[in-house]
């Protein structure tokens, strides 16, 4: 048998049955965000520097960063998948798994702790029926404990997404939850 093999010499069992042409490349990032990436490239001398900004775009669009997204970011920025995975797992704000629709974070660091953040956390666990670090069965809320959010003078506090709710009492937490249901 000579190399390269002619089509006729390939046994039938070895022939692909599916369409050999790859499917058209579908970008994980939408067009708007791809345009943002091009704009961002002007800001840094290397594409690797875009790792964090682009991962933010992915997370804003998708809610979390999947393995496929990481691979896409890697090829978009001409860095390795290992690099992107390393970055995603280093920074606590990047999530490689989907979260509930509302991510509730309770700061329990010293200033908040002195002002009773444990009561706020307990209250939330009771109200949502999940323990800290978990998502409600309806997928609406994820409850987690977080490190200092920079709201020490307005403690205790929770953050829901980017929104800070400060100077909380259990009653105030109820009002916040009411607004989300």
């Amino acid at each position: 048998m000579s190399w390269p093999l002619s089509a006729a010499s390939i046994p039938s069992w070895a022939k692909r049955t599916s369409d050999p042409t790859p499917p058209p490349r579908r970008h994980m990032l939408n067009e708007n965000n791809l345009k943002r990436v091009e704009e961002l490239k002007q800001r840094y001398p290397t594409t690797q520097a875009l790792t964090l900004p682009v991962l933010w775009l992915v997370q804003e669009q998708e809610g979390y960063i999947s393995e496929d997204s990481m691979k896409e970011v890697a090829s978009l920025l001409n860095v390795t998948y290992a690099h992107v995975l390393g970055v995603v797992t280093f920074y606590t704000m990047f999530h490689d798994k989907p979260l509930g629709r509302h991510h509730i974070e309770v700061c329990t660091n010293v200033s908040c702790m002195l002002k009773g953040s444990d009561k706020i956390l307990q209250h939330l666990e009771q109200r949502l029926g999940v323990s800290c670090g978990h998502t409600t069965t309806d997928g609406k809320f994820t409850l987690s404990e977080t490190e200092c959010m920079g709201a020490c003078g307005f403690a205790p506090m929770i953050a829901i997404g980017e929104e800070y709710h400060e100077n909380l009492t259990p009653e105030a937490v109820d009002r916040v939850l009411e607004g989300l249901r």
């Binding site: 660091n109 010293v110 200033s111 002195l114 002002k115 490190e147 200092c148 003078g153 307005f154």
Partner: protein
């Protein structure tokens, strides 16, 4: 019983310059009506080296915790270099107890932009990155809006104010890593890497972002620069304590009636800050302890506070440091074992894992402290904590290791009995001999 020291009766009068009480100052028109961007204009009329000289003479010291003289830091930047030069403005603000920079983003963002411009002019920098922690999404948008206005008014970008000077300012959003507040880790984060601190030397002024000369300054430090240019170095040097002059943003949190960020000249007694500025201790209780400058600074006993002032030298003499001036007040009922356990957990969570003493040590500290919380610790564990802390301190690439060790060392040195009381050995009675 803790004896409550008498507090001074006088409150120092101070008119805010960093956070003045002007309505809607975040809008560029309002900011310009009140003389905004005049300091930058003035700087543009001066030679860059004269601007650095002015900042040197003002005595401004970094507000990020290390108190390094800002003018001196700027003078380390090479004047002639074929490489690009960068400025990083550090708004990572993640030290527990610290929440001052966010006030600048919210209430006076143009002061920060103006300060950044002056710094760029002084050091011949054409690109500045303002690094802001990811949790501050709302404040990033506030600063972004201000920055857009500044670009639209041709105050940032190409050929600013027809001077021929060009500089770009970009905001870089962090993603939840305390360590990125450390300057070399911050640079790695901007480069798109995991936030691992770098070994120094080489120092950033020689080998910083992408190997180019780089200066990193705290947000509050940069916000002080326009004030210096506008009012003059002599005025600035006369504010507060001569060796650590200027206005300082003090964030007070914990057991006080009116917590918040207060702008004041340096050198105000801590007791005056607690009792006058922050409205006194909640429920009129005695002060058991304070952490004067964010969680990594050494804790002080309540009765130790008489005469201690909010400035680098006074706090150093008292056995602590000014840090980021994030004052955490704890009343007589506070469980300090719980406080230290929480602090230890924080550093364990935030250690980047690069150096073994910090990666392993912070975890051990937390583990041993949990034994105290559960009342399962032995008397020897008190010294074990000290031993672990001593073995972390000074043995790591960056200061996070020290920051994890200092609270433990100071807490045990100053409140040893609190820990001994929580050991099982304490409960065991002497066997009665027949």
């Amino acid at each position: 019983m803790i004896q409550q020291p008498t507090h001074p009766e006088q409150t120092t009068a101070w008119e805010n310059v960093i956070l003045p009480s002007i309505k809607e100052l975040h809008k560029i028109d309002v900011y310009r009506q009140h003389g905004g961007y005049n300091a930058f204009r003035k700087a543009l009329g001066m030679k860059p080296e004269d601007v650095i000289e002015e900042v040197k003479r003002s005595g401004l010291r970094g507000r990020g915790g290390a108190c390094f003289p800002t003018g001196l830091k700027w003078s380390f930047m090479p004047k002639q270099t074929p490489k690009a030069k960068y400025l990083c403005v550090n708004g990572d603000e993640s030290e527990p107890g610290t929440f001052k920079d966010r006030q600048i983003f919210e209430f006076n963002p143009h002061l920060l932009i103006e300060g950044t411009l002056i710094a760029c002019w002084a050091m011949g920098i054409t690109t500045a990155y303002i690094y802001i922690r990811g949790e501050y999404g709302k404040w990033i948008r506030m600063l972004e809006r201000a920055l857009q206005d500044a670009y639209a008014n041709r105050l940032v970008g190409e050929n600013i104010l027809e001077s021929g000077f060009t500089t770009q300012i970009y905001i870089h959003k962090g993603a939840g890593a305390y360590i990125c507040g450390e300057e070399s880790s911050l640079m790695n984060s901007i480069e798109g890497e995991r936030g691992y601190p770098r070994v120094k030397p080489p120092f950033p002024a020689q080998f910083g972002l992408w190997g180019c000369p780089t200066t990193i300054n705290n947000v509050e430090t940069i916000a002080n620069v326009p004030v210096i240019m506008e009012r003059g170095a002599a005025w600035y040097a006369g504010v507060g304590v001569p060796k650590h002059p200027g206005p300082i943003l003090v964030g007070v949190s914990g057991h006080v009636n009116q917590p918040g960020v207060f702008e004041m000249p340096t050198g105000i007694p801590l007791l005056e800050i607690i009792h006058k500025w922050a409205g006194g201790v909640t429920g009129n209780k005695a002060i058991k302890a304070v952490i004067p400058g964010g969680s990594s600074t050494m804790i002080l006993r309540g009765e130790q506070l008489e005469g201690v002032r909010m400035d680098a030298d006074s706090l150093k003499a008292a056995g602590s440091s000014v840090g980021t001036a994030g004052l955490i007040v704890m009343n007589e009922e506070t469980d300090l074992v719980a406080v230290l356990t929480r602090i230890a957990k924080f550093y364990y969570h935030e250690s980047c894992g690069q150096c073994t003493p910090c990666r392993e040590g912070t975890g051990w500290l937390w583990k041993v402290l949990k034994r105290f919380e559960a009342r399962e610790a032995r008397m020897s564990d008190v010294d074990l904590l000290m031993d672990i802390a001593n073995n972390i301190e000074g043995n790591t690439i960056c200061a996070l290791g020290d920051a994890a060790a200092w609270p433990v060392q100071s807490m045990i040195r100053r409140f040893r009995a609190e820990f001994e009381r929580r050991t099982v050995d304490q409960v065991v009675e002497e066997p009665v001999s027949a």
